[in-house]
Symmetry: C2
Subunit: 243 residues, 2 copies
Amino acid sequence: MEPHINPHISRRYNTELEEIRTRVLHMGGLVEQQIIDAMAALVKGDSVLGDEVIKNDYKVNNMDVTIDEECNQIIARRQPTASDLRLVMAVVKTITDLERIGDEAEKIGRMAVRLAAEERPKDGYVEVQSLGNHVRQMVHDALDAFARLDMSAAVRVAREDRQVDKEYDGLMRQMITFMMEDPRTISRVLNVIWAMRALERIGDHARNICEYVIYLVKGKDVRHTSLEQIETEILGATDSRPL
Amino acid sequence: MEPHINPHISRRYNTELEEIRTRVLHMGGLVEQQIIDAMAALVKGDSVLGDEVIKNDYKVNNMDVTIDEECNQIIARRQPTASDLRLVMAVVKTITDLERIGDEAEKIGRMAVRLAAEERPKDGYVEVQSLGNHVRQMVHDALDAFARLDMSAAVRVAREDRQVDKEYDGLMRQMITFMMEDPRTISRVLNVIWAMRALERIGDHARNICEYVIYLVKGKDVRHTSLEQIETEILGATDSRPL
C-alpha cells in the first residue's frame, strides 16, 4: 500500500467511530419517542397510539441489529485498542439497554391498549405520568452524557435512578391502597402496576448507560465503585448531599 | 517472525478462547450459588446467610470486571473475526447479565435479612421457593446451553421464561389477596414481593443469555425473531406445542 493511503484510512476510521455514536443517539431518540407515545396512550386511553407503539418496536430492534453488526465490523476491520475499543464496547452495551427500553415501552403500549377499555380514574393517572416523565428525562440525559462523554452528567443521572425507585415504591403503596379500598379495581390497577414496573426498569437501563459512560471516560477502575465514592471524586463536596 | 511460531500463537489463542468460556461458567456457578443461598436465607429466615450473600456480591463484580478486561485484550491482541468474534461478544454480553443476576440475588439477600425479623407465614414461603427453584434451574440450563453451544437447549430455556412470568403473576395476585385479607401483613408481604420481582428478573437475564447462545450459533439473522419461529425451525413440529 502507498503510504499516503494511511491518513485516508485513519480519517475513514474516525468517521466510522463518529457515525456509530451518531447512530446510537438516533436510536436513543427513537426509543425516547416510544416512551413518550406509550405514556400518552396510557394517560389518554388511546388504544390506536398504543398499537402504534407496539408496531414500531421492530424499528428499535432493527437498529440494535444494524449497529451491533457495524460494531463487529469495526472490530474486525479496524482492530481498535484502548479508548477506541472502549467506545465500541460501550456502544454494544448501550444499544442492548436501548433495545430493552424499547421492549418496556412496548409493554406500556400493551397496558395502554388494555386500560383504554376500562374506566378512567379521576386523577387520570397523574402520578404514573409523573414517573413516566422522570424516567424519559433520565433516558434523554443519559444519552446526552453519552454524546458529550460527560462523566459528571452521567453520575447525576445515575443518582436520579434512586429517586425513581423511591417514586415507584410510593406509587406501588398507593396502588395497593386503591385495591384494598375497592377490590373491584384490582384487575385495572394491576395493569397500571405492570406499566409502572416497565417505567422503573427503563430507569435502571438509563442508569446502566450512565455506567458505560463513566467506564468509557475513566477506564475500567471505577466499575462497581459506589455512587458516593464516584460523586465525591467527580462532583466535589458541595454537590454530594445524601439522597 | 519465524513461521513455526504461528501454530503456537494459534494454539495459545484457542486456549485463551477456551479459558474465557470456562471463566464464564465459573462465574455462572458462583452466581447460581448466590441464588441458592439467598433463597435459603429467605425461606429459613437466616439473616446471617443473607448477610453472607450481600457480602459475597463483590466476588461476582470482580469476575465481571476481570472477564470483560480479558475480552478486550483478546480483541486488541488477537483481532478475532467471524465466529471467534461472535463468541467474545457473546461472552461480554453474558457476563453483563450474570453480574445483574448477582445484583438481584443480593437484593433477595437484603429482603431475607428484613424478613428474618418478622413473623414466618404458615406456608414457609413455599411458592416463592418454587419460583426460586425454577429460576435457578433456568440460569443453570442457560449456562449449560452456553457451554455446549446447544441452540435447542437455549430455545427450551427461553421458553421457560414465559412459565416463570406466569408463576410470578399468579404469586403476585396471591400476595395481593393476603394483603387485602389482612392489612397488617402489608409491610411483610411487600418485602416478599420485592424478592419475587428479583427472581422474575433473574429469569429475564437467563433468557437473555439463551438469546446470545442462539445468536452465537446461528449468526445475526435470528435476533428478534419470535420464539415460535425459532422453535418451529429448530425443535421440529412435535415439540412446538403452544405454551
